[in-house]
């Protein structure tokens, strides 16, 4: 996998928001899972944390344009997702790995990633090289022509990441991408994330605080469908104290943020 460019050695240029939500509400069935969310994201790796049922997956699905907003305003890469042509345009530059992703078991990794590249309407001439590159980046080169049904859980997850990045997305949404990866693969994945985040907006939903601290430039904490905290990993670590639950400073900070939000909500 490729390594990140050193941020300390570079200058910074500012562009418009990759994700901009105002009062966003999204339903998961009848339940209002995202309730009045204001969120702005730019390039970088953003970690999305929250307890079960916080609305993380529903938010990811809405940002992936799979679920429509029930209310509020959502623009992705500077474009609204209301019109059909705008939706198509946004989707061409989108990468998405769902929490539970289905696949066709008889496809090989190369066929699967190539199929997704075709669905993303990539230029035909660029597909073969892009497929090979994305497979290489996730470390599946040796398994490129293996059928998906023969892969382990971690390899399948990496194939899922390969299909998500095949079109060099400007907005990459990864829902629990490290599930099934062994420790070494998780380290490689963090490097890949840092590399992807140099030019794109990457949003990673996870329950592993340590992944967020290691790979993300920004942390978002969601609870009961609302944004309850946003800041740097260092800032999150500074939120907690010894009395909070967790094995690390960041975990204790995360616990403290949730504890305070619950206390405020109970008032």
């Amino acid at each position: 996998m490729m390594r990140a460019v050193s941020a300390a050695e570079t200058a910074v240029t500012t562009h418009p928001w990759a994700v901009h939500a105002e009062g966003l509400r999204v339903r998961a069935g009848r339940h209002l899972a995202v309730d009045g969310l204001d969120l702005s994201l730019t390039a970088g790796v953003h970690g999305l944390l929250g307890p079960n049922g916080a609305g993380k997956t529903t938010l990811m699905r809405a940002l992936a344009t799979v679920l429509p907003p029930a209310a509020g305003r959502l623009t992705l890469l500077g474009r609204s997702v209301d019109g059909r042509s705008e939706l198509r345009s946004v989707r061409r530059t989108l990468g998405y790995l769902p929490q539970h992703f289905g696949f066709y078991p008889r496809f090989t990794v190369r066929e699967f990633v190539g199929y997704m590249a075709w669905l993303k309407e990539m230029p035909k001439a660029a597909v073969a090289a892009a497929v090979q590159r994305s497979i290489d980046r996730v470390g599946l080169t040796a398994k490129a022509d293996a059928r998906l049904k023969t892969l382990s859980g971690g390899m399948l997850r990496r194939a899922g990441i390969a299909q998500a990045i095949v079109n060099d997305p400007q907005l990459l949404l990864l829902d629990e991408p490290t599930v099934g990866l062994d420790p070494e693969q998780r380290l490689d994945f963090r490097e890949l994330l840092r590399d992807l985040g140099t030019d794109s907006c990457v949003l990673v939903s996870t329950h592993l605080v340590e992944d967020v601290v290691a790979a993300c430039t920004d942390v978002i904490v969601l609870n009961e469908g609302r944004l309850v905290w946003q800041g740097t990993p260092e800032g999150l670590s500074g939120q907690g104290d010894q009395g909070d639950a967790g094995d690390s400073r960041a975990e204790r900070g995360y616990s403290a943020v949730l504890r305070r939000h619950r206390a405020e909500a109970a008032r």
Partner: protein, 268 residues
Amino acid sequence: MTTTHPTMSQIERYAAGDPGLDEPSVWAIEVHLEGCADCRARLAGATTADTRSLIERVAMGLDREIAAMPVPAGRSRPWSVLRHRWYVGTLAPWLVMTATVLASAVLLGELWAGRPSLVLLIAPLAPLPGVAVAWHRRADPAWELIAATPAAGLTALLRRTAAVLAFVIPALAVAGARTGASLALMLLPCLTFTAATLLLGTLVGVRRAAIGLIAIWTLVVIAPSLAAARLPVVLAADSAGSWALATVLLTVMALLRVNGFRRLSHHG
């Protein structure tokens, strides 16, 4: 969005091969240059004429070598690509079921001489099970992935409907040839019902539309025809023109209501 670029001073030092730039810095600049056309242009401007000439000669040599090499194609075969793109394995059970029902209708028709042609009666419904599941969340394991691509919704529905018709039409032709039923009276109602399913699908969803049309045709046409032991008027020999007209009208109406398919993009 925010992106990061090496400074001009770093690029000039990199171009000059400055030994003061440590290895990680050189490596970081090279990684960035791979993906940033602007910085590559800045680098080109920072090099000497001799260096540019050398790079040009190397690039031309590389281009010649690459052009002479075979294109990497992996192990995908053309038929395999076609199958994966236009025919989804998840449609297979429905298409097998359709073929089985048609084969059964042919057999029953041969056993029940003198009865109305079962093949003719069920032909309009033949593509509907496949169309009903063509773009449906529960029928396609990769639905969630595909739903976030530009091909989601209407595009996926139309591609897969075309795949269903590409299977059903030859199957009907074979069944028709076996029973002697009019080919036009099988294929035209089949296309009419497909267009009607798509049109109604803009209002109530494609799956519900297909189920509704199957139920209505079964109750209003198939059951009475079997009970009366004669073909209905709508399938009389001179009705082909009306079916052709209905197909055209319903297709045009479905195209006019194309915005009604927007809900498919999100919900399937």
